[in-house]
Amino acid sequence: MTAAGTALPGHLHVDDRSFVRKYVFSTDHKIIGIQFLFLSLFFLLVGGLLAMGIRWQLGFPGQPMPLGGWLPEGVAPGGVVSPKTYIGLVTMHGTFMIFFAVMPLLVGVFANYLIPLKIGAPDMAFPRLNMWSFWLMIPSGLLMLASLFVLGGMSVAGWTVYAPLSNSPDYTGVHLGQQLWCLSIVIFGASSLLGSVNYITTVINLRAPGMTWFRLPLSVWALFITAVLAILAVPVLAGAVIMLFFDQTIGTHFYLPAGGGQPLMWQHLFWFFGHPEVYILILPAMGIASDVIANGARKPIFGYASMVWAMIGIAFLGFIVWGHHMFQSGMNPTLASAFMVSTIVIAVPSAIKVFNWLGTMWRGSIHFTTPMLNAIAFVSMFIIGGLSGIFMASTPVDMYIHGTYFIVAHIHYVLFGGSLFAVYAGIYFWFPKMFGKQLDERLGKVHFALTFVFYNLTFFPMHILGLGGEMRRIYDPTVYEYLRPMQPINVFISVSAFALFLAQLVFAWNIVRTLARGKKADINPWRDCGLEWTVPSPPPHGNFETTPTVYHGPYEFSVPGAAQDYLPVNQPLPPVPEGRR
């Protein structure tokens, strides 16, 4: 093989790496991305199973769970979920889904796999750090899994582990579980930092000739901005969690009023991280959706520049809205009003993005491929989740719906309807590149249809529950008279949730089957313009034979006067026909 352009560090060589170097402790961004894929799908499964436990208890309070008999008496006496176990399930469900499933799925998988390929780099700027960022996820994940089984039980303070509840075993009887939670999160932080430093440096310095900032695919822009959010927000979480850990172990009083500490300080620090975090969970989804929608509509993305600025706007505003999680926390009400304004303003850039996606489909020629279907679902569901956010942004209304299932509905509309649908879109879209095998389109559509239907049946009724006044994180709603009439809704939700889970198995089966004996994928199955589609599937170690040169933006579909309806970015544009621009 020839050496890559001198412009870029590292060069192709005959791939003589040992098996371990190649597939286990690999420094190849593609392998690392795939490692992240399987790891986070596993955690998605874990989070899903925990959710099933939650739904069983809420739908059929106090009745023995199927297979519940297998659980140890301490966890589920006679197969019935105990109050402690219930809150544990909720806490761990949230934790696994946010930190170990969706964040690695979006960032770990797609940032690692796509960035170098899409910007024409042979690998990340710091491949070894990149390897570490994956291998730190293993101890982190193991610690979190272990915390499910330790003496005293798992953390029961919610994924937001509010102090002082999380500070001391006096309140819940949990000690080790909560401490492991803290350690795991700190290691997780280190991992995502290493990753983010890599992504930022790579995008800034390793772009191929001609790949100017405003020719970057929106997915790369999104992942870049996300990485910036991560290096600014995650360290704050790490610091806060370390202080919490000290409160638990070496007797400090950061959050304990007993020693002059401030419970509210935890909430502030957590949400200063927490809100940027939720945008960390949506921006890459937006990027992926943009790529897929432009491809599916066979049209350039509508308003590329404003799409970019909108994301930058979201990222910036994301740091000054954290207080909207604390409206009812006893925070200074005047400050709350300020946070209300900033929160409401953040809807504007999101609006811009939504309308630009619509604009992209307008007068397009929409191919309903599985990725496209999921991307469309992303847009329509994100709208619902976003709009429900507006209710909470209004402080007086939030006073009623805060801490109710209305919030839970919002969470899942943005995180499942938003992030996860985009993840599915991304997986269906880039799977052929990753493995050289094409996922079965029919199974894919079945998976999509079932997921879309049961997803809405599961989560939409939660809005009603919330407006009826049902609190989150309660073990048994039927304790309250005014909630009993709504119990049928809970049953309905639970049944749909089980169906939703089963629907996901179709996806799992599709992946497993395709890997075993799927049909070979050619280089560019979706007829896309991106650089990653100009190299073999899967791409060789080092990605590009020679450093590619980029001639135009990433969305040149249906260019007038071009031979086919897409123009790879490494091919010059045709002469501009008379009369146009």
Binding site: H268, F272, F319, I320, W322, P333, L335
Partner: protein, 92 residues
């Protein structure tokens, strides 16, 4: 390597400055000036020292402006966080 091109600043001078400023700081503490004055001058001195280190030892003075922006990015956030939280505590 652009940092190599500019001729190295006089590091010993910077070092002397830092040493002197440190002495001044300690002196300020033992002078028993009015509290507010002490605090203000100490913060000022500390920032001065920090700037010397950043500008000369870390060569920020000789780097492209863009890098400077990258580096300064987190500072406003830090301020927002601290100020925001402090205001938050005056409950209703």
């Amino acid at each position: 390597m652009e940092t190599a091109e500019h001729k190295a600043p006089n590091y010993i001078a910077v070092w002397a400055a830092l040493a002197v400023l440190t002495v001044v700081e300690v002196a300020v503490v033992y002078l028993h000036l009015p509290r507010r004055l002490t605090v203000v001058s100490l913060v000022f001195l500390a920032l001065w020292k920090a700037m010397l280190v950043a500008l000369y030892f870390m060569h920020l003075r000789f780097e492209p402006k863009r890098l400077l922006y990258v580096v300064l990015a987190p500072l406003p956030l830090a301020v927002i966080l601290v100020v925001g939280v402090m205001h938050g505590f005056r409950g209703p």
